[in-house]
Symmetry: C2
Subunit: 205 residues, 2 copies
């Protein structure tokens, strides 16, 4: 799983699933990196210095040894995985990896990660309960789309681990913290275990 990226600086929060994708990818590939902790709630992403790194004021961001910057978690892990077995070479398989990653950002994260944030970090306050409830159907739909695929293949893109699995592992494995039971998704549950058993796996946090 080796690749050629060296000396990466990662700006992120280890509690964030999007940032955890980078941490897990670096662990699986043995990529040496410096982690710069960013506290979102304390406003670390909103100051001017960070705005020059990412004008969209979101983490994670990586900075290469030569100063080049890259944001968006899924773009980052695909970059880190270049030349490794985690990124398929065949154009169609590579497209399927991206398909699942765009699915993750549009149809999965906005439901499951946001419900988890409202529940776990905000403590499900009264004035966010309605929003929390509106996230449930979309989250279950996303899990059922994954279940459908994982009933056919061991991983999301065929029978090998790819960056698509890392992208979707990040928030799926803590979906229960957003109010989603995984009992109805046995193939998803087995897939989570398959990822957890990878050599050099590291947990969230």
């Amino acid at each position: 799983m080796k690749n050629g990226v060296m000396g990466v600086k990662v700006y992120g929060d280890l509690q964030s699933g999007n940032c955890y994708k980078i941490k897990l990818m670096c662990a699986l590939l043995g990529i040496q990196h410096d982690w710069v902790h960013m506290d979102i709630l304390a406003g670390d992403t909103r100051n001017e210095a960070f705005g020059e790194k990412n004008p969209n004021q979101k983490i994670p961001v990586i900075e290469l040894a030569d100063g080049r910057l890259l944001w968006e978690s899924n773009a980052i892990i695909n970059f880190l995985a270049q030349g490794s077995s985690l990124l398929p070479e065949a154009p169609f398989d590579l497209a399927k990896v991206q398909q699942w990653q765009f699915f993750e950002q549009y149809s999965h994260e906005p439901y499951i990660a946001v419900a988890r944030f409202i529940n776990k970090y905000l403590g499900l306050p009264e004035d966010r309960k309605a929003e929390f409830e509106t996230k449930q159907a979309g989250g279950r739909k996303a899990l059922s789309v994954m279940e459908n695929q994982l009933a056919q293949t061991q991983y999301l893109v065929g029978d090998c681990l790819t960056t698509a699995d890392i992208s979707l592992y990040a928030y799926t494995h803590v979906a229960n913290e957003g109010g989603f039971s995984l009992d109805a998704y046995p193939c998803v549950t087995a897939w989570l275990e398959r990822i957890r058993s990878q050599p050099q796996f590291v947990p969230l946090g």
Copy 2:
């Protein structure tokens, strides 16, 4: 800009910006394709036959001559652009293309495209006005992030057109239909014109 994909079937709605990305890509690259019209409001994406093509029940979807299926607009256009000048070969540039595409799906489309949908297709009904208003700040933020980049480079990833530009052109050029004036974004406005002047360009609709 030639590539090697032949005999593609596209399931889509020509009024949808996400589907328009595919149409524009096929035009720029001269990719012959069959367009299968899908009427979302009439429920075409919700029937069982389409659910077998995309269990997430969204368009666009492409079907290759051998029956393989691919969903998610940005994954599709990157696949179609393989081997053409629209997809950079250098790993970092390719990662920057994806960065902008993930930005599009998470930080741009959910504001600008959704505001446009509420305004243009639903006629800004009273019970969606509050939601429409909540989309305005996020949409302006996305436009300012683009303006920041386009003040430095001709296109989003350096000085050549890439699929990232196609992804963000789709809804940016109709942002006014979602209540966003582009007057405050001169570099975005000039970039729209640069895309419109590409050989073989086709408009939305």
